[in-house]
Symmetry: C2
Subunit: 419 residues, 2 copies
């Protein structure tokens, strides 16, 4: 699936901080994915430090090998930002002050009531023989050089500036040169293991004739990526394969692409004009945090209780002390009383509760670390389930919150009966 | 700070999935950081697809340039795993079945009550002229080749297998060849901008003679990394520089290395035998979620209220309706009443509250998106502060929770007066 030769790109990432592991380089993943989507292949990603001669060598070699070279980093204003000097050597160029860059920087700093600081003045200087990629979201302009039909784009390393310039200047040019482009769609599933998911899907031979399938598992669910290379965007093909997968595993699919589980729950609550309230023990507030990641969530989320102690479970939600004494806080009985209690106390239409042992301490033979009960209650009654998670504390909490939201989704869809 | 020449390493990462952005490559960050710590410099990281001739060329070039080459990926059992074939060509080698690998795989599969599957049989074959790096945590062995004094290590790409083999075989060999090794310490600060932080630090000339300083800002605070290259570990030097920085900016330093803000708050609460309760509006439960990331937090965190609606603020925490009507939910008066209310209602020793407009909607001329009030209340009274955050909704929530925890830390340290 890798291209090379007549229409291939490579990526050069500059910076000591990247090769010494001081920061995670997310730029090359972004660029790799986006270039790939434009239909141009990525043949190589090279990361090097702020070293003049190595940079010079790498730029020369990349320009000889590849039609497109996309370089990021080293365009800032500190002493180790030497990319511009290297470029003037490679392209036998001189620097001049660019009027439009000066204007843009003056405007930026006028908003802060100051002149262009001395330290930023060097950003006004650009190489002679290139196209300037004007940066509306930062102070470092990018550059486009061309030699023997091969193109070098230079972008600053700050991720949101890099992305802005890539989308504004580079993606359109790459697409224009590609006869076919990649389209992707990601189906997001949760509540089923990767093996069971593909068992339920069954034979994928017919689907694989239409799209390339990738399965990306995590502790929160399996993402399925469909990819198709077409001249026309491939929407119909993606729609068809998505529908075919939904016919087999629709219950587990909560969204596509950028859609989130908490967004889906919010959408269903909004459609049904229902109010939700949360009663959290082991997740400590994470379910409420997720629900409120969505703008507008105040329309359906009124309140939550983080009842970490037994006292709080009793006094806030009316969980009887004798039930806590008899069954323990981590039990089906308590989870049910919490979900029913939070609904009653808050006046919400649907209540969700979690109680569990996140670990690494607090487990016993009878109640191991990871044991978790989750309940969902509405006017039709209550559902409760038992889970045993085997991740670390933080992942156990994340998985519990994800499962709770998924159970709310299923309940709202009428796919979760009382137990 | 980049080495090259007589004692430098480079990293080769193999895999279509890495250069097309399908997965985030975390291996090269891990390797970069760990190699750097052994005192060997990293001069280059190259990522390429599963392509025979490009792999061959890159291995040849890397072996000529660098003393150490560490390659990961392409040692699995699927048709695109061709690293072993490339190695036999580069080193003019043949494959033979390795008895110890066979034994280890038989043992692994015996535990699952099965014989070595046909698909895994190829893992028993290793090149003739290399040292086998036996893999106790997976099925793919690694290899160590040597040519003209330059060493190539090949590791599988599965992160935990890669790390295991690196630590077991490679790190000790690199350290043995380094007269000096790098030690790092990270000071974690919050509650101050990067520019103001370094203003307060003042001249760093004296410090920079002892250590290398790096400043790593994010919306949650600035991390300062101290690095020192020594024969002896450099603990005294790091201690001395850390103390010197703490003398100037100690108020803002909440921990070092892996320490977290929520862990520090937990430690202070434990030392003072104090109980905390939370009253969250805009953060939706994130503060409680962070507090409960710490094992043992049930000893000091009893409960929290997510009072997202005005009704909940009034009914759970006793915030008077007339104050809500007069000042609005996002106001200093309401934040104070929330912090005092949650302390009174829960019986906790210290209460923390947040109320704000996370955005992107809900702002007005008078109360813009990002306006946030945070209050901390204990037996000595109440502190309240006003903030305006300018990130997106999710980062605004994260920053609000971080600030709230930091204010609790300062209050517990006696560094936050009533307002």
């Amino acid at each position: 699936m890798i291209f090379s030769g007549s229409n291939s790109a490579e990526i050069l990432v500059i910076g000591d901080e990247v090769i010494s592991g001081l920061i995670v380089d997310t730029n090359s993943k972004y660029l790799g994915e986006r270039i790939y989507e434009t239909g141009v292949g990525v043949s190589r990603i090279t990361k090097i430090g702020d070293d003049f001669s190595i940079m010079e060598e790498c730029i020369e070699q990349a320009l000889q090998r590849s039609d497109w070279v996309i370089l990021t980093g080293g365009l800032g204003i500190t002493h180790d930002d030497i990319t511009k000097s290297v470029l003037t050597k490679v392209f036998a160029s001189n620097l001049h002050r660019d009027e439009k860059v000066i204007q843009m920087l003056e405007e930026t700093f006028r908003k802060r009531n100051r002149a262009i600081p001395a330290s930023v003045q060097s950003q006004c200087e650009v190489p002679d023989n290139c196209q300037v990629l004007y940066n509306e979201v930062g102070t470092a302009p990018g550059f486009r050089f061309e030699r023997d039909g091969h193109v070098l784009f230079c972008l600053p390393g700050v991720p949101h500036e890099m992305k802005h310039l890539f989308e504004r200047y580079i993606a359109p040019e790459l697409v224009k040169h590609s006869s076919q482009t990649f389209s992707h769609r990601i189906l997001k599933t949760t509540g089923i293991s990767e093996a069971d998911l593909w068992d339920k899907v069954g034979s994928i031979d017919a689907l694989q004739k239409k799209v390339t399938l990738a399965s990306l598992p995590s502790h929160l669910g399996v993402r399925i990526r469909l990819s198709v290379l077409t001249e026309t965007g491939g929407k119909e093909t993606l729609d068809e394969v998505e529908q075919s997968l939904r016919d087999r595993i629709g219950r587990y699919v909560y969204g596509i692409n950028e859609e989130t589980l908490e967004g889906k729950v919010g959408q269903l609550l909004t459609e049904k004009s229902m109010i939700i309230a949360t009663a959290e023990s082991c997740t400590g507030g994470l379910i409420g945090h997720l629900l409120t990641q969505i703008s507008g969530s105040s329309n359906y989320f009124k309140e939550g209780f983080v009842v970490y102690s037994n006292d709080a479970k009793a006094s806030r939600l009316g969980v009887e002390q004798q039930v806590l004494d008899k069954h323990g806080a981590v039990s089906e009985s308590v989870a049910r009383l919490m979900a029913e209690g939070v609904r009653r106390v808050s006046g919400a239409d649907i209540g969700v509760s979690v109680t569990g042992i996140s670990g690494p301490t607090g487990g016993s033979e009878e109640k191991p670390v990871g044991l978790t009960f989750i309940a969902v209650s509405d006017s039709a009654g209550t559902w409760c389930g038992k889970y045993i998670y085997t991740h670390d504390r933080i992942k156990n909490k994340e998985r519990t919150a994800q499962t709770a939201l998924n159970l709310v989704r299923l309940r709202l869809l009428g796919l979760l009966e009382n137990t």
